[in-house]
């Protein structure tokens, strides 16, 4: 019997690519040194197996890293259209195309409050003492796996939001990550730090300039929420269906603080998101919302962990997925409660609605509880559209297509109701309608 092992050069970047990348960078030596250390870790991690608990259902065999390279030089952002940027008034906006910043603006009023908002690398250079203790040290660790180390070695561009103590940013802020060229690898990083008592909202979206370009995104999101602070963060992933998306995302919530985090998955060929919610301080709260709509042969995988580390913490995760055609969604969720986290209230739920016979959804909730005075609940459902519901709608004079739209909208409504930003709810509703492609749905 003969079998083929997967060529290791398909899974990552070589040292030659890394040196070529470094040659294009102009940055302080401490950043370069950190990259080199991360690249050493990356090369070691490439030789080891990925965690089977997290990756055994994520088929990476078709992924070929050799098709992608970091971008350098000028970029043209004129062909980029977005779902959110022109829909409401923003207090500031940062845009990255192919991993390079093309726009960074912030209102004078917000700047006068002492808020830092803009391109991460530039601000890391000018505010090293403030930012270095946070960057890939508090939330996402460089050596978490090969993707986090890959990101730490090659990160480019990125968005920073720093809000000082007791400052409230009234207007939402906007961040865009885009691809405009075929074969581009982008390693954008989002770092949000809210000091004690601060409040802010950041809406982030990803997009591709057109449907024909293949892109790779190896991203990282770090959300640091100080005591009594409140952060509302939305990431709307809307790549085209030729894009690969790997992301480590982590939030750290301190005492009496709250994090409202919405993850939207609409695009990509294959996406894997590792999402950690760390409730570090007493009475910290996190509400996590997930909206996923996949079609054709898209695959989206979520690996979520709600980690309760302190007393009286509260987490509430609700994911809703709609699948059609031959799409696949994998959700592996875990609520972890440390011995010290008594009076924890943890909840997680994932509901999937299947619109075709060939779609597949694997939902695996889990609990790991080491305290004895807690309330933790989890659950998952997967089901088809009820023919009786369609029949009932049609008997009331509603067209079959409109009935289907109503049922899908109704399915998502519970999670829409939890999304704290109206413009996001409206945008999602429109996008879902567009993605339904009702004609080809078989019930």
């Amino acid at each position: 019997m003969s079998s083929t092992t997967i060529d290791i050069s398909r899974t990552g970047f070589s040292s030659e690519v890394f040196e070529q990348f470094l040659a294009t960078r102009s940055e302080p030596s401490w950043i370069t040194d950190a990259r080199r250390a991360a690249f050493d870790q990356y090369q070691n991690l490439l030789q080891s197996e990925l965690d089977p608990e997290e990756f055994k259902r994520v088929d990476l065999r078709v992924f070929n890293a050799g098709k992608f390279r970091p971008s350098a030089g000028t970029v043209d952002s004129s062909s980029i259209s977005t779902l959110l940027s022109d829909k409401t008034e923003f207090g500031g906006s940062v845009a990255h195309v192919n991993g390079q910043v093309t726009q960074a603006t912030v209102s004078d009023q917000i700047r006068a409050q002492g808020v830092l908002f803009g391109e991460l690398q530039g601000l890391m250079t000018t505010h090293r003492e403030l930012l270095e203790p946070y960057f890939m040290k508090k939330a996402v660790q460089t050596d978490a796996d090969r993707f986090s180390a890959w990101h730490a070695a090659f990160w480019t561009g990125g968005t920073l939001l720093y809000v000082p103590r007791n400052v409230e940013v009234a207007l939402p802020l906007h961040s865009l990550i885009a691809h405009s060229r075929d074969g581009v690898a982008d390693f954008s990083h989002t770092l949000i730090i809210l000091e004690d008592g601060a409040r802010a909202t950041l809406l982030e979206e990803t997009t591709s300039a057109n449907d024909d370009i293949a892109g790779l995104h190896v991203g990282c999101v770090e959300l640091i929420v100080g005591r009594d602070a409140n952060l509302r963060y939305v990431q709307l992933q809307n790549w085209n269906q030729k894009s690969w998306h790997f992301a480590h995302q982590a939030g750290c919530v301190d005492s009496n603080a709250s994090l409202q985090w919405t993850v939207v998955g609409l695009g990509s060929k294959l996406a894997h998101i590792h999402q950690d919610i760390n409730l570090n301080g007493r009475a910290a709260t996190a509400e996590v919302n997930g909206v996923t709509f996949v079609s054709d042969r898209q695959k989206i995988s979520y690996y979520t962990q709600q980690h309760h580390k302190a007393q009286g913490t509260h987490s509430d995760l609700l994911y809703k997925e709609v699948l059609r055609d031959e799409a696949r969604v994998i959700w592996r969720g875990m609520i972890k409660v440390d011995p010290a986290a008594q009076q924890t209230d943890g909840y997680q739920r994932s509901d999937a609605l299947m619109l075709s016979d060939d779609a597949r959804c694997d939902s695996i909730p889990g609990l790991e509880i080491e305290a004895d005075d807690v309330k933790c609940t989890h659950g998952a459902t997967t089901g088809r559209v009820d023919k009786e519901q369609i029949f009932y709608c049609m008997s009331r004079g509603i067209h079959r297509h409109e009935a289907m739209h109503m049922i899908v909208e109704g399915f998502f409504q519970k999670v829409y109701d939890r999304i704290p930003v109206e413009i996001v709810r409206e945008t999602l509703s429109r996008t879902v309608q567009g993605k339904l492609g009702i004609e080809s749905i078989a019930v």
């Binding site: 079998s3 259902r57 088929d59």
Partner: protein, 99 residues
């Protein structure tokens, strides 16, 4: 249809991992017949790559689900759904496969 392997690359009973239309697939030779099936078990969604081949069927190496190589049909529990079987042609000294 795309070329997946030369006819001289496999002996009877051998297999090789290939990609057909960007889908991981196994090409398996039994005597002078070639089968190309999706390399994913319909039960647990993971590779069939190294599963034993028995009587023109492949057995999942994890939970022993068995699939007919001609039709893709699940022959025993725990699988209940078929695996994808690609159309094949032998021409120009090679095996060609497509959806």
């Amino acid at each position: 249809m795309e070329r997946v392997i030369g006819t001289d690359e496999l002996k009877s009973g051998d297999r090789k991992t290939v990609y057909v239309d960007d889908i991981p697939a196994l090409v398996i030779r039994i005597q002078d017949e070639y089968f190309v099936v999706e390399d994913v078990c319909s039960h647990d969604g993971q590779p069939l790559t190294n599963g034993p081949i028995q009587d023109c069927s492949i057995v999942c190496p994890r939970h022993a689900a068995r699939f007919d190589l001609r039709s893709g049909k699940a022959l025993c529990m725990p699988a209940t759904e078929a695996i994808r079987v690609f159309k094949t042609e032998i021409r120009d000294g090679a095996v060609w496969a497509g959806r």
